[in-house]
Symmetry: D2
Subunit: 321 residues, 4 copies
């Protein structure tokens, strides 16, 4: 049994990791760190009552390293940077769910398995992709890799459930503010996920991409749906586009390219690690509309992190997912 | 035009008062006090943009009194007590939505119009009833007044929308905590509304009543439904019970006794000042089940406050409601 | 008092008309037609219990005409066509909320008051705009009228609450299908509102416009938010764009151009006739993102219909709204 | 691998069975029957796309029996009766989720494992308990078995998520009817689950029990919370009551008696087979309030059915749950 530590166990990604890993047959959670007073997991998460007997408290990276084989960092941004070196020095494998290491350097691998599986196998530190980036990169990859899409004017209109905004109580995130017919855009072309998206789309296409990105808040707990508008130089129809996507994602269990006429719905991927992709092409408009759905907390965070762990340790990739 | 001040304009009751009073043809809001930095109402409540041109800020009772004829206090509990004397001294009429004055003394009137209309007319200070108490008192009054119900073992199982918990951000009230299939009881026989309920039911029945009261939190914005179980000495059937209720509430516009077989639904009273009452009697069980529905922010707070104002100023009782 | 008939009283638009008109001081509802067995309005809509004493049943246009001055048609598409001639022959004014007359001919006026107010005054028959079209046309009008936007590649990514899908029970519209983290696109570039949008945008711009339109279903009752991406030839910044919108909508009570940095939220227009417009321009990208929010049942249907009625009868335009 | 058939795969219980059994390591779903035209499971349930390759169609009991070892019947009430004899004759084990066999006869076992585990082991046909009954029987059992509670006047105020109402589309169950602040009682003392509750409580207490049962509909997908009011002859306090419950449910993994001061919340048991029980006793009122929370589709239906299967086949009782 692999001994697992979760640093940042009090946030949504941390909670989702606990949920997923409790059902994983090859691992055992042995450390739960969080910047809180010592609290039993059954008090933090009453759903876990009887399922896990562990306290969560403010542990140092060293302390966590001592009693674990691998560590997930589900920390606020800018904190992972501090903890990672110590864990790596102890020889622990680290999967970081924050954005701290996502902007590429030569050491850290961007952990999107469908694109970088081979390298993940041997990595010691993985930068687990963000939720919006996962939904957009998986949606654009085949068209960009095949140099079909105009890279100048990609429009990504994304919609996220409220858990994407984190767990810190603010008035804007109260039930009474959102459950009253509230749907709204925020941070138009200003979201901190944009550099990560641009980096990966540029890398895929070989051209410098700067997406137009409008995130929106949907009155639901979880899920991201990205509607992506791509201009295409070569006129292609839906069948051709679908073939390209099916070829690109051949053998990928977690990417489901939907058949013609079927569109994704966030509910179909809720609590799962799937990314559903629907395509509609309009040759007469030189337009391809790609719609992707993921669970922001699973394929967009903790599920993908476990997928990475499975690859790193040679488990079946979908084990526990 | 009656000049109106609202002290506590940043809470739910304050917001609802603004909403209601903006549509009231005989009044004009001239003061909005709140313990906040000066903020234009259109910033606090973007829905009010273009409808009211007024700043809200930390005004003293004296200041508010100077520019108003009547003042609604929608303040945190224990604050009204401080502000009221000053307003009364200035000769202003005061309607207090907090619990501060609800436990009876000789000066302050309990502002439940269906029971105390006559006295409200001439009152200078009204203690506006709480939301749970309104739903329970209106539901029990006819049976208690007619000495039909056993006063020893009244069970009030109440369910409230989340706005009943107020506007202060806490983790328990975040969208992500509640919109995930969350329904739960709280403060079983421990809620601060209980003395108020006991006082009024005792007064109605002439006996000492101590209700068994279990409030629950419903994953919806607004509405209270109280299911009240009353043992009855005399066996009565549904028709007889309904007749008693219809007689008792004859001419009351805001109390709708539903016909046999029809049960209340909070959605039917949402954003209105109605109280819907459904009755099912089980003579063979010596049981009457009374179900009442109100909007906790309207008939349970701000609507009832405006109803009181209408009575105090001789306006048509349902004006603006 | 103007005597009003509503044909199609059992749908959402019909219900919303009843709600609005009950609070309108200059009208009286005298006929409620619907393809149902005779039902008292308090049975159809328990919220209206005590507020209106009228039966709804299958009335002919002739019958309705006899007891009304003006008639709202909130009928399924293709039915209005049959009823309208008879009503007009009886000299009744008709406001049709269906799409039947929206595609322009010389006789029927497209009832978007902010664009065609003058002609509405004297019209006998008004084609009340659709919900999506209202949100998009109001959002694009200033840029198109001023010939700033590229008319070739307008992207309208719209999101609607579930009431937009109508009241006929289907499995896809059940609570249990939608309230489970469901957000989804539908009818990509295939919605029946598109000809209406294209017609009006073409008319505004003087060029042939074919929008790219993706509607989505949001798990909320009401509200539409349209995120519109416009390429602009002339680089303009947010301030300049806002000035253009403020100039265009000067004096328009129901259009609220939000100040810089403020974005619309459907909750701010819920149950109101406002259209909120937020703008962000990106000169370096030659892009203007326009975001509009309306209530699909009010400014997108029944509220706008009453606004038209107010204009036709010389009432204050915002009376009852 | 045990070969499993599900008859009634198109309802909520059937869907939940598929979900649970797909994650169960010892079984394989080999037959999905439903009164529909042949449909691939990925079309019925897009979430299952890629997870199970099977068609669902109108299969006879004989046909299902031929290719399975055990069969779950998640059928409309009154249909199980027809299918069961044929399956039993083929030597298949049958777990029936309908109410058809719940009213006791000598042949069929009431499959509430916490009460009847021993007999379940050897049963060929199990009547799986209803959702409301599970929440109430588990909540009352210790007090009734210990003869502490007055059996004359037990009040069960239950609240259920909307999935409890089934999947057939009706107007009352549409999203737009429920997601508008709707909370409502229904079938007061008239629900078809009552005989089952009375039977089991009578059996536990040795006295004839007729509960007062008021079900309510909560605007959420899943979950039942029952608030049960029991008069007690002997005054007991919360600690004593908790001890009694902890003793009674000692070793029961799926029943979690919450510690003093902690109350259940349906969200804590959502998608799990747990039943959470919170207790508050009021000795001065001779009252014990028991609050239980289950997921109506899991412990209240399909999860409990799988728990029964695990017992019948000697698997670990919580396997796959």
């Amino acid at each position: 049994m692999l001994k697992i530590g979760i640093m940042g166990s009090s946030g949504f990604a941390g909670e989702e990791l606990i949920k997923i890993l409790l059902a994983h047959p090859e691992v055992k959670i042995t450390a739960l760190a969080a910047k809180i007073e010592k609290t039993h997991v059954s008090k933090m998460y009453p759903w876990a009552n009887g399922m896990l007997d562990l306290d969560s408290y403010d542990m140092s990276a060293e302390e966590v390293g001592k009693i674990t084989d691998a560590v997930f960092l589900a920390l606020p941004h800018k904190v992972s940077m501090d903890f990672t070196p110590c864990l790596l020095k102890q020889g622990k494998k680290v999967i970081d769910l924050s954005a701290d290491f996502r902007i590429k350097n030569q050491v850290v691998l961007y952990g999107l398995p469908e694109l970088y599986r081979k390298d993940i196998k041997d990595a010691g530190l993985i930068a687990n992709p963000g939720c919006y980036p996962t939904s957009i990169i998986l949606g654009c990859a085949p068209l960009l890799k095949n140099k079909i899409a105009d890279t100048d004017y990609i429009i990504c209109d994304s919609k996220s459930g409220v858990s994407g905004a984190g767990r810190t109580p603010t008035q804007a995130l109260m039930f009474t503010e959102i459950a009253v017919n509230s749907f709204r855009p925020y941070k138009v072309n200003f979201h901190r996920h944009m550099p990560e998206i641009d980096q990966e789309l540029s890398s895929l296409s070989g051209a410098r991409v700067e997406v137009n990105f409008t995130p929106h808040l949907v009155p639901m707990e979880r899920g991201i749906l990205s509607t992506i508008y791509l201009k295409v130089a070569k006129k292609i129809n839906t069948k051709e586009a679908l073939k390209m996507y099916n070829d690109f994602y051949k053998g990928e269990y977690f990417v489901r390219v939907l058949e013609e006429g079927v569109l994704p719905d966030t509910k179909n991927v809720a609590r799962s690690n799937f990314c559903d992709i629907g395509i509609k092409a309009f040759p007469e408009r030189s337009l391809v509309v790609v719609m992707t759905a993921i669970d922001n907390l699973v394929k967009g965070a903790s599920g993908q992190a476990v997928q990475n762990m499975n690859i790193m340790y040679g488990f079946e990739e979908k084990l526990g997912l």
